[in-house]
Symmetry: C2
Subunit: 375 residues, 2 copies
């Protein structure tokens, strides 16, 4: 066994073999092992240990390198990333701020974010704002205090001073699914206008002329855009749809969002089906609302799509499981998550500059729309 006896200039090693020294050390420390401990065992300096173990590009002789690695292994050394972070003023954490993970729109998106972030060693702070500007604001500042440099956000706030402030402090934002007006940052959006148009076009091509549209309150980017797409389609295809066919929920408490949208779908459908001239098809502003339509149609003892056609938007996983399968406009949220994550990381590394992205929707055809032969 190689001993430290020959290392005349290190006090410890003069008397004890390396393994003995190791044991003494390990008994002495209840605290975590640091590069100093590793240095002691490997008979070198902390700086060298740092060079070896933080895979810096710095040259270290193979012999020493090996000694350090062995010592680190023996001691079960794991780096303290907080120390590194304080020193380097950089980290591998990103914040994701969304209204609520319980909205089925987000899990897949988040999966995309995480998948991409993980590949570059990044971790995700998940922040649910619960649709409260105060909670959102609080989270953003805490993230900043935790030195998070990059934040992915689908904001519900309209007070952009917070973002302005944090941007001035160096935080990089990428906004997704919601447009951030009045502030300059990268946006990743679905082309909701096109989505609205596409849905109407699809129905038109299937022979539908009297179409009901059900929307949640027009207080968000997505909803406003869809509405515009719908209106454009009405004009382009020369549909004669009175305003009674456009059901926009009045703004209410949306605390439990999913159930709210389901209810909205139900009640709006009730109104549409009570019209003197029933629509032959209903477009819902999202799938959850479409499920409300399904439910109400069912209560009326009508059949989808025989008696009435339904088309949704978002294409959440459930839409393929329900009977009949819900035809829906697919918004690629997993891809959006990946792109947003990628973009943010690139921005943080100065590998790109601000960009806006627009993701195209596409129709996913299932069994909830029937063809009408035009007479």
């Amino acid at each position: 066994m190689e001993t430290g006896m020959f290392n005349l200039f290190t006090g410890y090693s003069l008397f004890f073999s390396k393994t003995l020294r190791l044991e003494i050390l390990m008994n002495m420390i209840k605290r975590d092992v640091t590069i100093y401990d590793v240095a002691k065992v490997a008979d070198t300096s902390p700086s060298t240990v740092s060079r070896v173990l933080s895979d810096s590009s710095y040259r270290v002789s193979p012999r020493l390198k090996e000694r350090v690695e062995k010592a680190a292994e023996q001691l079960g050394y794991l780096p303290n990333l907080i120390g590194r972070q304080l020193k380097k003023n950089s980290n591998t954490n990103i914040g994701v701020v969304i209204p609520s993970i319980s909205n089925p729109f987000y899990p897949n998106l988040l999966l995309g974010v995480e998948e991409r972030a993980r590949r570059s060693g990044n971790h995700i702070f998940l922040c649910n704002s619960y649709r409260s500007p105060e909670v959102e604001r609080e989270y953003l500042y805490t993230l900043y205090e935790k030195q998070v440099k990059g934040i992915l956000i689908s904001s519900i706030s309209s007070d952009y001073r917070v973002f302005q402030d944090l941007q001035n402090r160096g935080v990089v934002f990428v906004s997704f699914d919601q447009e951030m007006e009045g502030i300059s940052c990268s946006n990743i959006l679905f082309d909701y206008e096109k989505a609205g148009f596409l849905a109407m076009e699809y129905l038109f091509q299937k022979g539908h002329r009297r179409i009901g549209y059900i929307s949640a309150p027009l207080n968000r980017y997505s909803r406003i855009q869809i509405m515009q797409g719908v209106k454009r389609a009405v004009k382009v295809f020369g549909l004669e749809m009175g305003s009674e066919y456009i059901q926009i929920a009045s703004q209410e408490c949306e605390l439990v969002e999913e159930s709210y949208e389901f209810q909205n779908g139900k009640s709006a459908t009730q109104r549409l089906l009570s019209l003197p001239e029933r629509p032959s098809a209903i477009l819902a502003c999202n799938d959850m609302t479409a499920f409300g339509v399904y439910h109400q149609v069912n209560e009326y003892r009508l059949q989808i799509p025989q008696d009435i056609s339904v088309i949704g938007m978002d294409d959440i996983p459930m839409s393929s499981m329900i009977s009949p399968g819900l035809t829906s406009i697919h918004l690629p949220n997993y891809e959006m998550g990946k792109l947003a994550s990628q973009l943010l990381i690139d921005l943080l590394n100065n590998e790109t500059t601000q960009v806006d992205m627009m993701l195209p929707p596409k129709v996913v055809e299932r069994n909830s729309v029937r063809s009408i032969s035009i007479t």
Copy 2:
């Protein structure tokens, strides 16, 4: 305007008014403002600033305190929590490790975790293991390196050396939904055995005697427990159910879990409906599987619950939106999230010791089970 002219012992303030000093300072620093900057402006020492701004219990005179707060405000000071963390060797981050957030079982659970964590200033690192032991392992070690002291986990690994190692290093684990065998940590579980029994009991009381049970592969705590509950019910109620009524999927690729479960529900239903003596009711090991049952029953042009009854488990949000509403065994996952979070935080604060919790299921009655009059 109060000037520093009278503070004879501070070099700076001898010559400049406070506001001037402030401006000079703010121009000089492009970097973040620290307690040293605040101290300079407030004409005091960093330690005093720290005492004031980190709401320590330390007494500081009201006058000085106010001066410090004003200076901090003027400078827009925000604490660097990394510095604090390095010094105190403690933080307010907790890790949550789950198979995949896209499984609709988890979002509400996570919401509970986060809700509770937020109240104590904690942040959530979300880690999806994708059902890969390697990914899980990697995440756990990175969390440790980021000095996360508490981890909530629904583990898919059976190699407990990782947990052992990290526990030795001081990490506190709370396991939820999956039992961690061979390792000593707090567990929060649903009483799946009871849930299985309850479902069967409910069907029995509704007059059902020939019941089909559809399970995913018996490779997890939950599934094994449910199976036992089902078997106990069969015995207790004296049901004569041949093994052909118990459909357990063989172990396959479960990569896209939700769609897998849906498919499993479909194919198992097909087999059950082909039996010479059809079951009058089907119990599915979770709601997603039950949706598969719905789908297949629909393909057979049969009606739920008139022709066949269905009962699920988990009570995911979708179950109340589908038609007919799916009767299901409710497992309180939001509450589980809150409890797990609470427990972990208490453990970290040494305010409690290791405990196991068992959360009771309960039946949520909707419209997918009919009463059979016994002849």
